[in-house]
């Protein structure tokens, strides 16, 4: 017997993600999902961003890693709320794992929650966690061919931060090619060139993020 069933395979996760999103919206909390390959600079970006915006935005962080709490310890030193998730092998975070952290936060005391995903340029792009938008980092040491090799993440992300620009003189990477390729796959993407090491370019990212969080919170309050 043939049964026709048209069902999205990821519907269970998508549903939980929507429920998470509804809770964030109700609390007026802006959430972004931060993704990149391992070592591109996700935690370094967060450390800088926490310092850069500490007088303007109350931030919390969920750290996703397969193992260890190194990243959560780094964020905790900045004195903001942080929860570490160890996926124990899974290559991405999902809606359920995020929901399990809710008890550890007081959302009324936060404006922005950042979900730092497991370092991986493939899988995290497929799983919603309830975020308002996705942000990705590509470091120049990874090479300019990455957008065309991993199109889904570039297509899904609202922002691309090209990190480690201080290393450009030493690596064979044409940053113009990264920008062109990323915009070919996602013409609406907002791009920033940054160096978490020297701080170059970070001010533009801080201003963008501050404005985006303020606008979104104003929208949510108006609802």
């Amino acid at each position: 017997m043939k049964i026709s069933v048209v069902k999205n395979i990821l519907e269970a996760n998508d549903r939980i993600a929507q429920e998470n999103r509804a809770i964030f919206d109700e609390k007026g909390l802006v959430v972004f999902n931060l993704m990149s390959s391992p070592g591109a600079g996700k935690t370094s970006l967060l450390e800088k961003t926490i310092d850069g915006l500490k007088d303007h935005i109350r931030m919390g962080v969920i750290e996703g890693d397969i193992q260890s709490s190194h990243d959560a310890e780094r964020i905790a030193q900045k004195g903001i709320p942080v929860v570490q998730i160890n996926t124990g092998g899974a290559c991405h975070l999902d809606g359920n794992m995020i929901r399990d952290t809710f008890k550890d936060f007081d959302f009324d005391d936060l404006d922005l929650l950042v979900v730092e995903n497991v370092g991986n340029l493939v899988c995290p792009a497929e799983f919603q966690v309830g975020e308002d938008f996705k942000v990705m980092i590509l470091s120049v040491t990874e090479g300019a061919d990455k957008p065309s090799k991993y199109p889904l993440m570039f297509h899904e992300s609202k922002v691309l931060l090209i990190n480690k620009t201080d290393l450009l003189p030493y690596v064979d990477c044409d940053i113009e090619v990264i920008k062109k390729e990323a915009l070919r796959i996602n013409p609406r993407m907002t791009l920033f060139e940054i160096s978490c090491k020297t701080g170059e370019g970070l001010d533009a990212w801080y201003s963008w993020l501050k404005e985006t969080v303020e606008n979104r919170r104003a929208d949510l309050k108006g609802k």
Partner: protein, 113 residues
């Protein structure tokens, strides 16, 4: 390697559908996998095979069809195949493109006994 999670979600849905239809054996499942999704069909089939051994789904065949990426231009309303992940209208060069196919992972049909 998120194919393991995808296989688990797939099995959960299949189980539910089989119970709904009072089916005892699963023969085959037809899946549509969008070109833009980051799934490797062989690795999904492998995970499915491992995870269904010794269950009512053992031996079921996964028939996976890759669905090409298609978009509609918001400016000139042209529907076209998005080649090489270039989200630009081949007619009017607009980059306001709505993806209409090729991004989802879905079950479309199952054969049971």
């Amino acid at each position: 390697m998120h194919e393991m999670s995808i296989a688990q979600s797939l099995i959960d849905i299949l189980k539910e559908e089989m119970a709904k239809h009072g089916a005892g054996t699963l023969r085959s499942v037809r899946l549509h996998i969008g070109q833009l999704s980051a799934i490797v069909p062989d690795s999904l089939s492998f995970c499915f095979e491992v995870m269904t051994s010794d269950t009512e789904m053992e031996g079921a065949k996964l028939i996976i069809e890759t669905i090409p990426l298609k978009g509609t231009c918001r400016e000139c309303r042209l529907t076209f195949e998005i080649k090489d992940y270039t989200f630009e209208c081949p007619e009017c060069n607009s980059t306001e493109i709505d993806t209409i196919a090729g991004q989802n992972l879905s079950i479309v049909e199952m054969e049971v006994e």
